[in-house]
Symmetry: C2
Amino acid sequence: MAVTIKDVSAKCGLSISTVSKAFNNYADISAETRELVHRTAREIGYYPNAIARTLKTNRSYNLGVLFQEERGTGLTHSFFASVLDAFKSEAEKHGYDITFINHNISWTGMTYLEHCRYRNVDGVCVVCANFYAPEVVELVASDIPVVTIDHAFSNRSCVLSENIEGMKALVAHAAALGHRRIAYVHGEHASVTENRITGFYRGLSEHGIEANPEYLVDSVYDSPEAGAKAIKQLMQLPEPPTCILMPDDHTALGALAAAAELGLRVPEDLSIGGYDGSRITQMTHPRITTVVQDSKCMGKQAALYLIDRIENPRTAGSEMGMIPTKLLAGESIGPVPERK
Amino acid sequence: MAVTIKDVSAKCGLSISTVSKAFNNYADISAETRELVHRTAREIGYYPNAIARTLKTNRSYNLGVLFQEERGTGLTHSFFASVLDAFKSEAEKHGYDITFINHNISWTGMTYLEHCRYRNVDGVCVVCANFYAPEVVELVASDIPVVTIDHAFSNRSCVLSENIEGMKALVAHAAALGHRRIAYVHGEHASVTENRITGFYRGLSEHGIEANPEYLVDSVYDSPEAGAKAIKQLMQLPEPPTCILMPDDHTALGALAAAAELGLRVPEDLSIGGYDGSRITQMTHPRITTVVQDSKCMGKQAALYLIDRIENPRTAGSEMGMIPTKLLAGESIGPVPERK
DNA sequence: ATCGTTTTCGGAACCGTTTCCGATCTGCGG
DNA sequence: CCGCAGATCGGAAACGGTTCCGAAAACGAT
C-alpha cells in the first residue's frame, strides 16, 4: 500500500542509497539526480517512513509531554492546555510531533523513562507533575533531554513564570486601593506555590503590612468548591479580610459565586483576585483582576530550549527562561470599604 | 544505552526468536522458558522497542487525533479538550498512545493522510475539523480506520451528541417558563449547528411558537465578543426576545456580561441559555442553564469504536454512537418578565 | 598516455523486532 | 528397536530506511 524508497529507486533507475542520500541532502549527489529523485518522489507520493528512519538513526522527531495524572483535570486545565498548545505548535513548526508520556492503568507498568525509551522520544517536556516523585527524578536524571516548566532542576533547562513578581504586583495593586487585610488562598505545595507565597509576603512587607497567619489558607488549585469553602472560612474570622487572592481564575470564579451567596457584593463589600489571566476573567461581571501568565510564550520557549538541546547536544547549555507576568486590572479588586 | 532483546537472549542463553516468542505468548514456548525470559527481562529492565516492532508488524499502537487548526483555540477549547482527554485515557488503557495529526507551517507539506502514513498510526479520530475539506475527505476515504466525532460519514464509525434532543429540551425549558420570544445565536455551519437549529425549530413548533427569522442569528462558537455583539443586536429589535440561547457556555458567559452592560438583569429582565455543560456554568452567578454534553463518554466511545475497528478489521462494522445530552437547569433562564 | 584527484553512485551491513520454516528432541505405540 | 507425532527451539529473512566504504567515472595536470 504505502509507497517506499524502493519504488522511487526503481522508478528512476537509481540505487536505494542514492535516493536516500538525495533526500537527506548528501553532498555526493549531483544536482540533476537530486532533482530527479525529488520529482519522482512527488509524482508517486513518497514520504520517508518515520518509523524506519527512527529505527536506524535513533531520532524520532517526537517529543514527549509529561502531564500529571493524579488530578482528573488533565488537558482540561486551561492554563496547561494553553502551554501545551503553544509547545505543540512550536514543535510542529520544527518538524516534531508530540506524544504524551504517562503510565495509565492496564499499561505494562512502564515508568516514565521506560515509556520514553519505548517510544524513542527525542526529548521530554515536563509540564505538570509532582517533580519530587521518584519516577520524575529518574527521568530527569537520565540521558534524555528534558525541559521543565515552572520548576527548576539543576543542569536542566526550564521555563519559569515570574511568580514572585506577579504576586507582588497583585498585592501592590490591592494595597494601592487601600487594602491592608489581604488574604491569600493558595494551591498545593509546589515551586509555583512557594514562589507566590514569597511574593505575597514580600508584597505585604513592602507596603508595611504585617502578615497575619490566619490570612494564609491552604487549599488546592482549580477547585471552585474549595475556593468557596476558603472564602466562607475567612469571612467568619473576627476580623475578616477585605481582599482575598485566589490561587487561580477558576477558583476566583467560584469565590465570586460564594461571595454572592454570602450576600457580599464584589468589589464593594469584598475584593477578590485571581491568577493566570485566562479568558474567562474578562467575561465575568465584574471582570476579575488577575495576573496574566504568558502561557503561549512559556510553551514556545520550552519547545525551543528542548529542540536546541536535542539538535545541538554539545553547544546547548541548560537555560533558564523567566517569563514575565502582567497585572490585568479588572473590577473585582476595588477600593477598600469604609471600616464599619 | 537501551537494553534490547539481544541482551535478554544473551543473558538467558536463548535465541532471539525464542525470547521474542516468549514475549508474544507463542504456543511453542515451554512454560519454564517463558518464565525465565520474563524474569530476566524484568531484571535487566527490558521493554520491546516500539519502533522496531512497528516496522515489522505495521502496528504502531498509536492513534492519530485530528484537530482543526483554522481557529486559534486548539486544545484550549474546553469541550474538545474534554473529549480528547477521555479519548486519550481510554486509548492508553488499551495500550495505545496518541499523536496529533496536522500539517503545520514549515512542515514538508504533508496532507493529513500522508502524515498518518508517515507516522504509521493505526487509526485516526477526527475530532474537530472542516469535514468537507478535501484533505479530510481523502483521509476518510483511505484504508486507515477512522472514527469521527459529531459528524457522520457513511461506512465510518462516528460518535454523535444528541444535539437535536438537547436543543429541543432547552427550548422546552424556556417555553415552560413562559418564553415565546426565544432567539438562538448559533455557531458556524457544521453538522452540529444544523442539528441544533433543527432542534430549535422543532422545540418551537412543539410549543406552538411561530419561528421568527430575526431571532436566528448567525455567529461563531466560543467567542464572547461575537456573543456580546449578537445580544446587543437582538435587544435593539422592535420586539426583542425574552430568552436568548447561545451557541456555547463561553459565549453565554460573554452574553451575561453584555446583558449587565446593557443594564439588564439575568434572568429577571432577560434569560440566557448556554450549551455544553462546561464547569464554568456552575461557577457563575446566576448559574447558567445549559445542555450538558457527555464529552467524557463521547471521547471514550470514539476510542472504543476505533480500537475495535483496528483490532477486529473483519467483524467490526461502522457503528454510530448517539450520546444523550442532559438539560442542566441553572438560574440564567427564569420566568418570562411581565409584558410592559 | 599516465596518474592522482574529485565527483558521483552502488553494495552491504545494520537498527531491533517478528515470523516462517526447518531442526532437534522427546515419548509412545507397534 | 523403529517410526512418527508433538513439543521446543533456532536460523534467517524481512520491515524501510541510513550510512560507511569502496568502485567507477570524469577530469585536469603533467
